[in-house]
């Protein structure tokens, strides 16, 4: 093994000489403690190394060994339900090893190499296989069927394959290539995190990623394979939005990266996800979730690696033909880690001290999302949707990370501190947010949910837009200066805001709303609006319309269980009709 010597130490950056035979990007073991690091820069025989652990106590003259391999992750059965740190060390295993604090230099393999899995062969001897072909399956959890794929670099005819119980290191199949050489296939693959996993072809995203969050699904939908950003100042509910998506997004696998954020937030996920039930499978949500936790007190360099670790694992499941959602909270912390390393490397800073390559790195990251045709003969489709939280300083999104992100992502959920202060959650501002998938997803929604879906949505958006204009008028002339119809418009917008867009993440029913229920609620609100407008034409008093009992029922509609929501819908409609007819009749009598 090549051995170098430390010559410089500056925080997480260490320089070593005598490294001429190491490669750029190699993982190295630094010092007597064997801290994990990665080579960032090579000049002659001098390597600049970013160290993923605290470097206190390290001395000049201590050895550096290269492993000769780039930073890679282990892929295979055993990933799901695990919580890893930024360089894929399993955190529960680390507790067994070093207690409740993370001691330096500790290593632990990401997957359990002694655990045995039931492998069911789906390919047979004599099959021609190449990278990506599925040769068997392992039921990893009740919710996840792990598909064993031929790894990169192996191509040929299956000589031997057998179902049975194996560890991930044991050979499950032997493939003979054209030259007659045999290759062993195990259930374990390694993949360098900074390299995108290959696919056959990218497809345009045209199917919504349903999240059960009304303001997202209806107003600003995300497509399967799409990218979204959630910027917002602190306290505006970024993390709750991310958690809600991780909980309820209609996907097969969720990869949640806690990047430079609070430790207790990860604990919260760890406590909560095993208890919550996936509405689709009925299994605990944890059974489809992989967590990457690099909290803010953990070393900054590993934070930089954590998003790559996460997205590589996500790509691996995408390659099985699954739809995968990746949440990164927060990409700003990742960018700050880039900035810190860049500063220590004495690179020329770009905007606000961030390196000039910030936007290209962000673009590369988000571009790894997408809907694709997977490698393999069956041309199965998989998707990877990426949702990144952004934490702009002072909530001002004119800063470089927000701006670079917005240039790439297609969906923008802008969180608003004022909404959050008024306890309107999710605090997604309906006037500034956008989704560029709206048009592309329209046909699907109109076909699968209701033919009026997109037209209803457009009406609601228009109303909200008009509300903000009317509000300015009200500031000048007061409510009485408005026409009755305009007053009605403001009133219906209040209904839309309070009863539709507002959603209580902590209410057992309201936390998730099916598309069907979303449409029904939208329909009923607009129905109420139309009937009221007709009534206004017949000179009915506004207060009678505003305070009719059905208003409260509309407000409570979101709390109705899905199973009785349709009955509730019919009843509210009847009540509105009856009440308004009654008002018109009374008004007629008064006239007579």
């Amino acid at each position: 093994m090549e051995q170098g010597t430390i010559v410089k130490i500056s925080g997480p950056l260490v320089a070593a000489t005598g490294m001429s035979r190491a490669n750029m990007g190699d993982v190295v073991r630094v010092g007597e403690l064997g801290l994990t690091g990665e080579i960032l820069e090579m000049r002659d025989g001098r390597a600049s190394i970013q160290v993923y652990e605290e470097t206190a106590g390290l001395k000049v003259g201590e050895p550096v060994h290269t492993t000769g391999l780039p930073l890679s992750v282990e892929l295979g059965p055993g990933l799901v339900e695990t919580i890893y740190d930024g360089i894929q060390r399993p955190l529960f295993k680390l507790i067994e090893k070093t207690g409740s604090n993370i001691t330096r230099g500790v290593t632990e393999s990401a997957l359990d190499h002694s655990k045995e899995w039931d492998f069911v062969a789906t390919a047979k001897e004599g099959d021609e296989v190449s990278m990506g072909d599925i040769i068997g399956t392992v039921q990893e959890t009740n919710a996840v069927l792990h598909k064993i794929m031929i790894p990169k670099g192996i191509e040929g005819t299956i000589k031997e394959i057998k179902s049975g119980t194996y560890t991930i290191d044991e050979v499950v199949a032997i493939v003979t290539d054209d030259n007659g050489d045999d290759h062993d296939v195990t259930m374990l693959q390694r993949w360098p995190v900074r390299v995108q996993r290959p696919y056959v072809e990218k497809l345009p995203p045209n199917e919504p990623l349903i999240t059960g969050q009304r303001v997202i699904d209806t107003m600003f939908p995300l497509a399967k394979g799409g990218t979204a950003a959630v910027p917002g100042p602190f306290g505006s509910g970024k993390t709750v939005v991310q958690h809600q998506l991780a909980k309820w997004a209609e996907v097969d696998i969720v990869v949640y990266i806690g990047c430079g954020e609070r430790g207790n937030e990860m604990t919260d996920v760890l406590n909560e996800f095993p208890e919550l039930e996936d509405p689709k499978t009925g299994e605990p949500l944890m059974k489809r979730t992989i967590l990457i936790a690099n909290t803010s007190d953990m070393p900054v360099a590993a934070r930089e690696a954590s998003v790559y670790t996460g997205i590589t694992i996500a790509e691996y499941f995408r390659d099985m033909g699954y739809s995968v959602a990746l949440m990164a909270d927060s990409t700003s912390r990742w960018a700050e880690a880039l900035r810190e390393m860049s500063g220590r490397l004495e690179e020329m800073p770009g905007e606000e001290g961030y390196p000039a390559y910030l936007s290209s790195r962000l673009a590369q990251f988000y571009e790894r999302a997408g809907k694709i045709i997977c490698m393999g003969k069956d041309r199965r489709q998989g998707s990877l949707s990426a949702i990144g939280a952004v934490s702009p300083p002072g909530g001002d999104i004119s800063e470089p990370v927000s701006q670079a992100t917005l240039r790439i992502v297609k969906v923008f959920w802008g969180l608003d501190a004022n909404l959050a202060h008024a306890r309107h959650f999710p605090a997604i501002n309906w006037l500034t947010s956008y989704s560029l998938y709206e048009d592309r997803l329209g046909p699907w929604l109109n076909e699968k949910i209701d033919k009026e879906f997109t037209s209803h949505r457009a009406r609601m958006m228009r109303l909200l837009q008009e509300e903000s204009e009317l509000n300015e008028v009200v500031q000048l002339v007061g409510m009485d200066g408005l026409s009755k119809k305009d007053q009605m418009k403001l009133e219906i917008c209040k209904v839309i805001r309070e009863d539709y867009l507002h959603q209580n993440a902590f209410h057992e029913v309201d936390t998730y709303a099916s598309m069907h229920k979303q449409f029904k609620l939208m329909d009923i609100i607009l129905y109420y609006y139309d009937r009221c407008n007709e009534a206004i034409d017949k000179e009915i008093n506004l207060d009678d319309l505003f305070f009719m009992p059905s208003r409260e029922d509309i407000g409570r509609y979101k709390y109705l269980e899905e199973s009785i929501a349709d009955q509730g819908y019919d009843k509210i409609k009847q009540d509105i009709d009856a009440h308004i007819a009654n008002l018109i009749r009374k008004a007629g009598e008064a006239d007579d």
Binding site: G263, M266, D297, G353
Partner: protein, 464 residues
């Protein structure tokens, strides 16, 4: 054998370059002996070959490059810990300054700590009653939380923090409780206020104090909060105590960090603060919490005075991104005479949801909290509209809300610094205020609680 180096080649501000040094570790502590025998302290910031860049903890005045000698101690900054620390006062570097005997340490602990494994954390969920309605009722504090007070110069954050330290209790327990107080660059008067307050309330015997006052070396401030947190970790995780850590003022800490960063000619981030300010603050704040299998806990209340009352300033901004909420003091309320002047709308406790409700506080807590927030927010909007258009422009309902907002501030928030309200009192005062609103406005409260608490009283009134 410890080598001495007489090879100081450069001193500039708080930084010093020593040449020809061997076998020194990154972040190691050093001692400088001046020609006149005086000793000063330093810490290794960067090693480049045999050049070592160190940061001085004290001033460099009077230092002669030729006469001074540097010794490296072979370890990083440490704190000797023991239960005898309770009731004692230390300086910012952990030396006793109250005239008492030096502590005989049970063990030495590295003041930088180690990151806590997130999988080993226990989610904080035990309600702490601070006796302050604005916190207990609306921004509930729980054990293991880090909840800063965002204040401004001239605002009474000291009175407020002292009130919390005096009154904070977990109900139904009488367990081991301790306070660790770190004064970072504050004035003698302010520190004295805290010491007197601890003394008066009798809690001084359970308090460990670390004082770095305004006239102490600024660079020492980098270590002071870490000393305090190390003491807190020892008490909490090794002695199973429930520790409340108060650090004041984080702004002074950040200025020291900026000073060192500037001296090192690092690329500055926003407003000249170093780009790693977030990470640096996080390594302190994240030391609060609870661990699985350990009884003790660290609850942290750092005080941040916002320069120009600007919450988007990097210090409060980054703090807010790390801590689990914030309590914001408002100059406007202070001028109105509201004590404590807590601006509840932008204040937030992120961990409150798991700490309230039946069995912890009372079943109606979550609902009334949301209702009070919503009503106060609407009341403030109504008042704003009123100031533009006059009272006549308000609807009847909005007038009720405007009145509600006033009552809320005067009755609910304004309790003074010496009133200790039980959570029941706080919740009942909330209901008293909500009764001014019409029934149909209480949309966020379950009907059963409305029946019990809203009508419960009303029917009684009718009977009278």
């Amino acid at each position: 054998m410890i080598k001495e180096y007489q090879t100081i080649s450069e001193v500039s501000g708080p930084l010093m370059l020593v040449k020809g040094v061997q076998d020194v570790g990154y972040d190691e502590l050093g001692q400088i002996e001046l020609g006149n025998g005086e000793t000063r302290h330093c810490r290794v910031l960067e090693i480049n070959g045999d050049d070592v860049l160190v940061q001085l903890f004290e001033s460099s005045a009077g230092m002669n490059l030729d006469d001074s000698k540097v010794r490296f101690l072979g370890h990083g900054a440490q704190l000797g810990v023991s239960l005898d620390m309770l009731g004692r006062v230390f300086d910012g570097m952990g030396h006793s300054i109250d005239g008492g005997a030096e502590i005989i340490p049970e063990k030495m602990m590295d003041i930088n700590g180690e990151p806590m494994n997130p999988a080993a954390r226990e989610y904080p969920s035990e309600f702490i009653q601070t006796g302050v309605s604005a916190i207990d009722g609306l921004n509930t504090l729980v054990r293991g939380q880090k909840l800063p007070i965002f204040s401004g110069s001239g605002l009474p954050h000291a009175d407020f923090a002292a009130q919390i330290a005096r009154q904070a209790r977990v109900r139904g327990t009488d367990s081991n409780f301790a306070v660790v107080f770190a004064a970072v660059g504050i004035t003698y008067e302010e520190a004295d206020f805290f010491i007197n307050d601890f003394r008066k309330s009798g809690s001084i015997d359970r308090t460990v104090m670390f004082l770095n006052l305004a006239n102490d070396p600024a660079v020492e401030r980098i270590s002071t909060p870490r000393m305090a947190l190390t003491a807190a970790e020892y008490l909490a995780f090794e002695k199973n105590m429930h520790v409340l850590v108060i650090i004041t003022d984080i702004t002074n800490y950040c200025e020291s960090l900026r000073e060192i960063s500037a001296a090192r000619k690092e690329v500055p981030g926003r407003r000249g603060y170093p780009g790693y300010l977030y990470t640096d603050l996080a390594t302190m704040y994240e030391r609060a919490g609870k661990k699985k299998g350990v009884d003790g806990s660290i609850t942290m209340i750092p005080i941040v005075s916002m320069p120009e009352d600007d919450i988007t300033h990097p210090i409060p901004d980054l703090t807010g991104y790390i801590t689990e909420g914030q309590i914001i003091l408002s100059r406007e309320l202070y001028r109105k005479g509201i004590k404590p002047p807590v601006n509840v709308s932008p204040s937030l406790s992120r961990l409150k949801d798991k700490g309230i409700g039946e069995g912890k506080t009372r079943e109606d807590h979550a609902d009334t909290m949301n209702q009070l927030f919503a009503a106060y927010s609407r009341g403030k909007d109504a008042k704003e509209l009123m100031s533009i258009l006059g009272e006549a422009a308000l609807s009847e309902t909005d007038k009720i809300y405007a009145r509600f907002a006033d009552h809320f501030e005067k009755r609910y928030v304004n309790q003074g610094y010496y009133t200790n309200r039980s959570i029941e009192d706080t919740l009942n005062i909330g209901w008293e205020l909500l009764k001014d609103l019409p029934r149909q406005e209480l949309k966020r409260i379950h009907d059963e609680y409305v029946d019990k608490y809203y009508y419960g009283k009303n029917t009684a009134d009718e009977e009278e």
